[in-house]
Structure formats: structure tokens, C-alpha cells
Amino acid sequence: MSTDNSRFAEFVAECCKVLELEAPAATGDSHMFQVGDRWIELKADDSGEGVSFAAMVYMKPADTEIRADLVASFNVHYLFNGGFSLFFDTATDRLYLCRPHRLDTLEARNIREELIAFADMAAHAGTWYIRSSEEQAAGTRAALPSGETGNFIEV
């Protein structure tokens, strides 16, 4: 199935203009922006109408397991609080923060603020994951009195 990424390419070009960056010669379905030392990928979906932001938040060491309970509870909490989710890529052992948008609701002129806010959230999510996984060893954790399964970071 061919995908029409022309709206995505147009959006990326507008963002580059706002950010005073050189527009890419060819966009394809993905473009990376750098915020500080963090890379944020904008990736078009198959419909050509959606775009997801993604940033790496954690790299799994070889001798540990990713805590599925933390990822699953983060995902339900932040689905309802901002639309963020964590995704573990088994091919690269990396944990990513993602957030989907519809292209027709994004404003290129706000891209700087969007990218900075997303990079901040990725930094917080990484810190939260590392702390939570260190504080609560898998299999030994009882439910907290509040019923929450972790100490969620604030959006």
C-alpha cells in the first residue's frame, strides 16, 4: 500500500522554517529533531493523517528485564493524562516515550514548545522508570494503599 506523506513532508518543512533549520531534501515518513542531547523522531502513520513523536528514555542493560508492570501501568495512567505511552523495542532493547497527534491539529509555529515539552517529559519518564525499577524489585511488590502501582511523575 502506498502512503501519501505529502502533508507530513509539508509539516516538517514548516517546522524547519520555524526552527530556522535547513529543510530536508526528502522527508519520507520520518524526521529527527534534536533537543539538547535528546533526539525526537516525528513519524508519519500509514494513513498520512497522523504523526507520532518518539524519544528514547532508557536502554535496557543485558542482565536485566524490562518491568512490564511499570510500562503497563504507566501506559494506562498517561493514556488519560496527556496521551503519552511507553514502548519497548525488543530489537534494540530501548524504551521509548511516544505520543500520537493528528497532523491537522498541530501548528508548526508551536513546534519549538512542543519539542521542548516532549523532551522534558521523556527525561522525566526515564528518571521515573529507573527509580521505580530500582526501588521495587520485581515480584516483591505489594499494592500500595492508594491502589496505585507506582509513583507517577507529574505532567
Binding site: 502513520d45 500509514d46 497522523g50 507520532s52 503497563a72 505511552s85 514502548f87 525488543t90 500520537p100 515480584g139
Partner: protein
């Protein structure tokens, strides 16, 4: 705050698309029955977004660890790129599939398509996650919980 007009309009539009009596709404959410599945819409006011979600299951607590692993394994890059999330809420004994969209998308045909997609994707997800979780719980030396029985 008055009843959000977006939810009123949305549930009315759902009645037109999915049939009379299938949809309803209250102060902070709307719902629509699509086939045997109920899809919920909740407003996420802080971020000007809306959450479209449906229950995959309300399993026994003992099976949660396997379900969480299965949910994470099911969350492929492709699924995430399409905006879908599988999450587990142990406090509510609930595993769900959902997507967060901008509230403005609720007011058009695209919004209805996004809701319909959640119902369709949930059928696939529920079956796959149940299968993976059951395989994990039956693995020698694996989970300590009883086998997970999923009803759909």
C-alpha cells in the same frame, strides 16, 4: 462547567453512524456500543485531548503479571505508530486498549472512524494478549499464578 458540547455532538453523531440507542454521555465521558463491545470516550482536559478506550478484560488478580508482559509484547512499533496503547490498571483489575486523540477530532467523521478502529483493534488485541499470557503462565518455571482464562 457545562456539559461539554463536544461529547453531546459526538454521541449524537455516534447514534447516526452506529445506530439509535447505541451511544450516551455524561459530564465527563461518552460511550458507544459497537457490536458486543462498549467504547468509552473521556475528556483529558489538561491536555485538550480525549481518550477513546475499551476494556480488553477484567481478569483475576493472580494473572496480572502475565498479562502485563503480554500487553508489552503486543505493543509493537507499528501499533504505537498508529496511536494505540495497551495498558493495565491493577487497582481497577482492568486491561484496556485505547488511543489519545485531540479533542477537535471528536467533531468530525475522522473521530468516528477512530472510535470504530478501537473496537476493531480490540478484538484482535484481546485474543492475542490472552494467547500470549496463557502461554507464559503455562511455561515451566514461569508465573506463579493460575492459568489466565480470558472471556470475550
Amino acid at each position: 462547567m457545562t456539559l461539554p458540547q463536544a461529547l453531546v455532538d459526538f454521541s449524537a453523531a455516534c447514534q447516526g453512524r452506529f445506530g439509535a440507542g447505541t451511544a450516551g454521555h455524561n459530564d465527563d465521558g461518552a460511550f458507544v456500543s459497537i457490536g458486543e463491545r462498549v467504547v468509552h470516550i473521556n475528556l483529558d482536559r489538561n491536555a485538550n485531548r480525549a481518550v477513546v478506550w475499551t476494556e480488553l478484560d477484567r481478569p483475576d488478580h493472580a494473572g496480572f503479571a502475565d498479562l502485563e508482559k503480554a500487553a508489552m509484547a503486543y505493543s509493537s512499533r507499528e501499533l504505537v505508530a498508529r496511536g494505540f496503547v495497551v495498558g493495565v490498571n491493577r487497582a481497577a483489575d482492568l486491561i484496556l486498549l485505547g488511543r489519545s486523540i485531540e479533542q477537535t477530532a471528536l467533531g468530525n467523521e475522522a473521530g468516528l472512524a477512530l472510535v470504530s478502529d478501537v473496537a476493531t483493534e480490540a478484538e484482535v488485541a484481546a485474543a492475542m494478549i490472552a494467547k500470549t499470557a496463557a502461554a507464559q503462565s503455562n511455561r515451566p518455571g514461569g508465573a506463579d499464578g493460575a492459568a489466565v482464562i480470558i472471556h470475550n
